[in-house]
């Protein structure tokens, strides 16, 4: 009964979405107040029904109801509870349901809380949101019903892909989804604004929290995903420029650009057309990302279950939404009035530079990711584009971006004097120069890119706090603190990346128990190989003790795991974290003479990459809360003033 109730709730939510779209479309055409008034409750009801449907699917997974096909295919009764829970969205159907659920809840949220936008624009936004959701409802209900039963009922399920049986999975995909869906809301706002030609500061202020929210989730999702790949795939790297990783990076790049241009629109009413375009591009990137991952069109290390039929469906939706929005853009933007102008050396100028650099980086990643696809379509050759291209193409631009990031917040709006700017950033420039000098003097073997990265990071770390200089810290708005922390986080991550790239030491040995391995200051003693067992796996575990200098002995025990349910083997790296870096050990195969392949890395300050990512997200959170609070206060004051009149 649970499954049937879930399916009914899903159909009802789909029907309400259709109603929401019709109310909006007809309402805008006929300009009837009654339609406008009805759309809010419909959007709220839609959100509630789809959430109910998703909760019921979670319940089915927690109960291990094997008569439901999706549960039987993706879960097993011996699985730990957390993975049963996370297994709900660790598959195609469940993750699509999660997607529409978040979209539905976002629609309900707008209907409940958005009060500053003009009614017509709000209605157009909700109608656009419903239109996007409709495609996904059709997708779910027609070709990927998550509640389908199966007969005969199997004794047990097939289990979840062992690589995905990790606490990281419980949070990584939903985090990215929240980000993607947040961008879909920004997209809906942009479409709504284009339909009513109401592009201005009010629109930007209404859209901004959604962009910020989406961006926070994307930042966290990418940070978590990078760390997951780092310790789970056992290759010792933290970013592989794999198509699936790029699929999550591209929306982030677009969202970062959008985040900065929307601020220009909200504060100075400039960059109107550009901001609309970015909102469309940001959502396009999340749709294209989903398409690339789900259609199997590009070969990737991330083994997703792929299906060309699903690919065609997403591609059709992509053509409809993105093509439609871009046609609307071409038709309408010519009639949107030009916003206010500004000088080149100004806060706006720096933000435009930020936008241009981010767009070029985005284009380079996009081209690199899709180039193999183009080549195969034209010549039939198979090839792949690897890290050398991406690092070389995007690295220098990213460093320029970081330099702009240091200067931008110190510039005044509208126009500024280049000389006073130089005055303001003289200390960071000196620090950068000094650290470049020191690094060149005391280290060997650093690549130019890492050297510049490290030097810039030192200057930027200081420069990011400069906006607080000589200000009353208690009266400084919260969103300024948010910016400071986010920019500081970028510098921190940059130090981690440059350090990992330059100072990592690696050793690959064939060792027999009793051997000693030395890497940097670490002494590792390979004690023994022992079998161990977990709830649904067995493993060979190597017992190793690691000692840093003359410090304490730490156990570090990498494993070769064999999962019972799917007969799959994974390599579980073991990590040991110190304040100054991470020791990373992987156990490989054994040979007939009793030797075991052991790979050891010492990665100085590698953890700063992810700490930086978390700081960036934290900065975003502060900015969002600060903006929301300020908006709320201003509205209260306005209402109070109106009441007094």
């Amino acid at each position: 009964m649970i499954a049937e109730t879930g399916l009914i709730a899903l159909w009802l939510a789909g029907a309400l979405t259709l109603l929401q779209f019709i109310l909006g479309a007809v309402g805008l055409r006929t300009d009837r107040e009654a339609y406008f008034a009805a759309i809010r409750p419909v959007a709220i009801a839609q959100g509630l029904f789809v959430a109910l449907s998703f909760l019921l699917l979670i319940w089915l997974f927690l109960r291990s109801d094997m008569s439901v096909k999706l549960v039987a295919m993706n879960s097993a009764s011996v699985k730990p509870l957390l993975y049963k829970f996370a297994g709900t969205w660790g598959n195609h159907e469940g993750s699509m349901l999660l997607w529409v659920t978040v979209m539905g809840l976002a629609g309900a949220f707008i209907a409940l809380f958005e009060r500053s936008l003009k009614t017509r624009t709000l209605v157009a936004t909700l109608a656009a949101q419903a239109f996007i959701s409709l495609g996904f409802y059709a997708f779910l209900l027609i070709s990927s019903n998550p509640f389908e039963r199966m007969f005969p009922v199997p004794a047990d399920g097939q289990g979840l892909n062992p690589l995905l049986q990790d606490p990281g999975l419980a949070f990584h995909p939903p985090t990215l989804y929240f980000g993607y869906v947040g961008l879909s809301v920004a997209f809906s706002f942009a479409v709504g604004a284009m339909i009513t030609r109401d592009v201005g500061a009010a629109f930007a202020k209404a859209m901004r929290p959604w962009v910020l929210g989406a961006w926070i989730f994307l930042t966290l999702g990418i940070t978590a995903g990078s760390y997951w790949a780092y310790y789970e795939l056992g290759w010792g790297g933290w970013w592989f420029w794999d198509p699936v990783e790029n699929a999550s990076l591209m929306p982030w790049l677009a969202a970062t650009a959008l985040l900065h241009s929307v601020t220009v629109l909200a504060t100075r009413d400039g960059l109107r057309a550009w901001t609309l375009m970015l909102a469309v591009v940001a959502f396009s990137m999340s749709m294209i990302g989903t398409f690339l991952v789900r259609s199997g069109i590009l070969t990737s290390v991330h083994a997703f279950a792929v299906d060309p039929e699903r690919g065609s469906f997403i591609l059709a939706l992509l053509a409809l939404y993105i093509g439609g929005a871009m046609a609307l853009f071409a038709l309408r933007v010519g009639t949107v009035k030009e916003g206010s102008r500004f000088e080149l050396v100004s806060r706006e100028g720096a933000l435009v530079a930020n936008n241009l650099l981010l767009s070029v980086i985005l284009a380079l990643v996009f081209i690199g990711t899709l180039y193999p696809l183009f080549v195969e379509a034209i010549t039939g050759d198979k090839l792949s584009v690897g890290p050398p291209y991406f690092n070389l193409a995007t690295g220098p631009l990213a460093l320029m971006l970081v330099a702009v990031m240091a200067a931008g917040p110190l510039l005044r709006w509208r126009r500024d004097n280049p000389r006073t700017l130089l005055n303001r950033i003289s200390i960071p420039i000196l620090i950068t120069a000094a650290s470049l000098f020191a690094l060149a003097l005391f280290t060997t073997g650093m690549s130019i890119l890492s050297l510049l990265g490290m030097g810039l990071a030192a200057g930027v770390a200081i420069a990011s706090f400069a906006p607080l200089w000589k200000r009353n810290l208690r009266r400084t708005p919260m969103h300024t603190y948010g910016m400071v922390i986010a920019h500081f986080g970028i510098a921190v991550a940059l130090v981690g990346m440059a350090s990992e790239a330059s100072f990592t030491e690696e050793k690959l040995v064939a060792a027999t128990p009793g051997d000693e391995i030395v890497v940097n200051n670490w002494k590792l003693k390979f004690e023994a190989i022992e079998p161990v067992a977990g709830p649904n796996w067995t493993a060979l575990e190597s017992r190793i003790t690691a000692q840093y200098g003359d410090g304490a002995l730490h156990p570090i025990n990498p494993q070769n795991r064999m999962f019972a349910a799917a007969q799959t083997q994974t390599s579980e790296a073991a990590l040991l974290t110190r304040w100054n870096g991470q020791l990373y050990v992987v156990l490989g195969d054994g040979d007939s003479e009793g030797r075991w392949q052991i790979r050891v890395w010492w990665k100085p300050f590698v953890t700063l990459i992810w700490y930086g990512g978390i700081l960036v997200a934290l900065g975003g959170l502060l900015a969002m809360v600060g903006r929301l609070r300020r908006g709320y206060k201003q509205r209260k004051q306005r209402e109070f003033a109106e009441a007094m009149l």
Partner: protein, 175 residues
């Protein structure tokens, strides 16, 4: 701003859409074929795997008559599935030699007793060294070799019933 410029994003998007659609429609083959196809068999000499059959060396595969070289293992489930079709090939006149990958004599003997023995010679490759030199990455795989020891074709995965006539034709063509 030039009005036509506003249509540029849509035009670019159209271009990508076309590429995606082509990529989706085009048949996908993700099988990695050995670079050895069209080249002579690498030189090797493997000891015999079981008492009933002689050992295998690369010279045995260049004696004028096209042959099949099957790489199998007793621990491999698809190898069981293809066993009857290998027997059918042998009954149709094909000479089949084999390399047993990472296996023990006892296990191989049990496997052959149970599922049939279509092989003329069986070499045992305990470390997969020869298998890797052949550019084969898994079991089962079957190579079609002409009378001069040149690899003509590589069949990856188990041989199905419908593959039998194709392989016989390849052997015929290799004469």
């Amino acid at each position: 701003m030039n009005r036509w410029l506003l249509w540029l994003p849509l035009a670019l998007f159209g271009l990508f859409f076309a590429a995606f659609a082509t990529g989706l429609i085009m048949p996908k083959d993700n099988i990695i074929e050995s670079k050895m196809v069209g080249k002579p068999m690498p030189a090797f000499s493997l000891p015999g795997a079981v008492e009933q059959r002689p050992a295998l060396s690369s010279a045995d595969l260049a004696e004028g008559k096209p042959t099949l070289l099957n790489i199998f293992a007793s621990w491999c489930v698809p190898c069981i599935a293809e066993a009857p079709h290998l027997l059918a090939l042998q009954q149709a006149g094909a000479e089949i030699n084999a390399i047993a990958s990472r296996d023990t004599p006892q296990d191989i003997a049990n496997f052959l007793n149970r599922w049939g023995n279509p092989y003329s010679r069986i070499g045992t490759d305990t470390t997969s060294k020869v298998q890797l030199e052949l550019g084969s990455s898994g079991v089962p795989e079957t190579f079609v070799i002409d009378g001069n020891g040149i690899i003509v074709h590589q069949h990856i995965g188990d041989i199905r019933e419908e593959d039998v006539p194709k392989i016989l034709k390849l052997l015929e063509d290799a004469k």
